[in-house]
């Protein structure tokens, strides 16, 4: 059974129908990517699945539980979390305090020290800057912090909304590397990216979103080879 099963999801902003009944799934252990142009509805999908914006129709089942009507914080406690678009780290808190917030949903705080060390090992920059106010970090460091903060809660499903946005090519490669690492360590990934080439390369499967509908799906390699994706998203 899929870890995340989205069926006929519909989302409206006022009278605007931003998601027109999309269905997709993510299996445990996979990396799945949603690609799509600006305004296609990628962020809307991510935020409605995690419960940040209300769903008008359809259903979302996570880890065997129907979470269609659940509020965001409850969904997070079930083991789904998200690195949101624009990172949204807590600017006024220190790096350490941000990571502490990341562990907020952990019922048992005994593993906190080890989790913290694991994040510092994965992101040595964060270790160097643990007492720095997060708002003063560089864009790349903020992305690392957002990712570190998200994995502090040991999510079963980690969703990342455009993690490579605004990063230098070198950092982009590093971010994809880290996503792959996190996945290898057992976390299922749902990724949203504009960078179709790099994301398809690390994806087991992918979906193409256009104007609030899914128009194409396949394995990462299939989509990377498809003429339509090449034309629209790979500049081919």
């Amino acid at each position: 059974m899929a870890l995340l099963e989205v069926n006929n999801l519909e989302v409206y902003y006022g009278v605007i129908r931003a998601l027109k009944g999309i269905s997709f799934s993510v299996n445990a252990g996979e990396i799945v990517t949603l690609i799509g142009a600006n305004g296609a509805g990628k962020t809307t999908t991510m935020q409605s699945v995690v419960g940040l914006i209300p769903k008008r129709g359809g259903s979302v089942v996570f880890d065997g539980k129907d979470i269609t009507q659940s509020p965001c914080h409850k969904i997070v406690h079930l083991g789904m979390t998200q690195v949101p678009e624009g990172r949204r780290i807590f600017q006024e808190l220190t790096v350490y305090e941000n990571l502490l917030m990341g562990a907020y949903s952990m019922k048992d705080s005994s593993g906190f020290k080890a989790d913290l060390e694991a994040v510092y090992t994965r992101f040595p920059r964060l270790a160097e800057r643990k007492s720095q106010i997060a708002g003063t970090l560089s864009g790349g460091e903020q992305q690392m912090l957002a990712m570190g903060r998200a994995i502090m809660s040991h999510p079963k499903l980690l969703m990342l909304d455009e993690p490579s946005m605004g990063l230098s090519p070198l950092l982009v490669d590093q971010v994809f590397e880290i996503i792959r690492d996190i996945n290898r360590d057992g976390t299922t990934i749902l990724l949203v990216e504009q960078n179709a080439g790099k994301s398809l390369a690390i994806s087991d499967r992918a979906y193409v979103l256009e104007n609030g509908s899914i128009v194409l799906t396949g394995t990462g390699a299939e989509l990377a080879a498809s003429e339509m994706v090449q034309k629209a998203y790979l500049g081919g």
Partner: protein
């Protein structure tokens, strides 16, 4: 010298009261992003609860009742009046808050009449302090407010709940993604603000032992001013603004001896500070979220 010292002590004590109230405004603003104009009237409710429960003869019990009652009232108001408006226009929320304020004042008038009631919580008398005669009640007020401010600062900085409050005030969506129940945090914030308002009610009764249904109106506006001066949304800002305003009020009263002048001076200071620093002393420019 003695005049200066006694004015300063009275100013700090009054400023402590303003800070107590301003904290309620500023925390609710920071976390729920709304101006709770009914906040001042919680002071009045606290005062009346003390007035009623003094019949039992135990001031500490009366204070406890006032705090508990105000906490429950604050949470109820939030649930009934403000929660349904989450996501509505700020103007709708503001008008509702003004409505709640009049409702509380009118209810108090219906229940207790419009004439002031006398309440003596405790006779503290005067004492020689650093060579000047001061009201013991002023020192008690100052002492309690300092303790409460330190406790609140530690609570926000060092507890899980406190940090969750900071997170919610900065970014509700991101806070939810951490698993924080934002509605729960808003309720807690109203509870804390109302408890502080109840204490402020006590302090007013210690200053002058009479109560009417408009007891909270002027202090509410002054404390709101203090919160804005300090930078609305900022906890240390509310403390600073409150104390500053209290000291300014006592000094200008000492100089002019006419209360309306005092108010005029205070509000002029507000205007000047806002002209120079629109975000108040410790307020930050909010980056608008996309």
């Amino acid at each position: 010298m003695e005049v200066i010292l006694s004015t300063l002590i009275n100013g700090l004590s009054l400023g402590g009261i303003y800070a107590m109230i301003a904290l309620g405004y500023t925390m609710v603003y920071g976390i729920a992003k709304m101006l709770n104009f009914a906040h001042g009237d919680i002071i009045m409710v606290g005062g009346y609860v003390i007035y009623v429960s003094m019949a039992l003869g135990n001031p500490l019990l009366a204070i406890l009742f006032a705090v508990v009652f105000c906490v429950l009232l604050g949470m109820t108001i939030e649930k009934i009046a403000y929660k349904p408006l989450r996501g509505a226009s700020p103007l709708a929320v503001l008008i509702t808050a003004i409505g709640v304020s009049y409702l509380l004042q009118s209810l108090a008038q219906i229940i207790f009449g419009s004439a002031s009631k006398m309440v003596t919580v405790y006779e503290f008398g005067m004492v020689q302090f650093l060579g000047v005669n001061v009201q013991v009640s002023a020192l008690v007020t100052l002492g309690i407010t300092v303790v409460v401010m330190i406790a609140l600062t530690l609570f926000v900085k060092c507890t899980r709940l406190g940090r969750a409050m900071i997170a919610v005030s900065e970014d509700k969506g991101a806070a939810q993604l951490m698993g924080i129940n934002v509605n729960g945090i808003i309720t807690v914030t109203f509870a804390i603000g109302s408890a502080l308002a109840a204490l402020a009610g006590l302090f007013y009764l210690l200053k002058a032992p009479s109560i009417s249904n408009t007891l909270g109106a002027m202090p509410g506006i002054k404390a709101f001013t203090a919160a804005v001066i300090g930078g609305i949304g900022s906890i240390p800002g509310a403390m600073l603004g409150g104390i500053l305003l209290g000291v300014v009020e006592c000094i200008s009263y000492k100089i002019t001896a006419i209360a309306p002048y005092t108010d005029a001076i205070e509000f002029s200071i507000l205007i000047i500070i806002l002209l120079v620093r629109p975000t108040g002393f410790l307020g930050k420019k909010r980056r608008e979220k996309v």
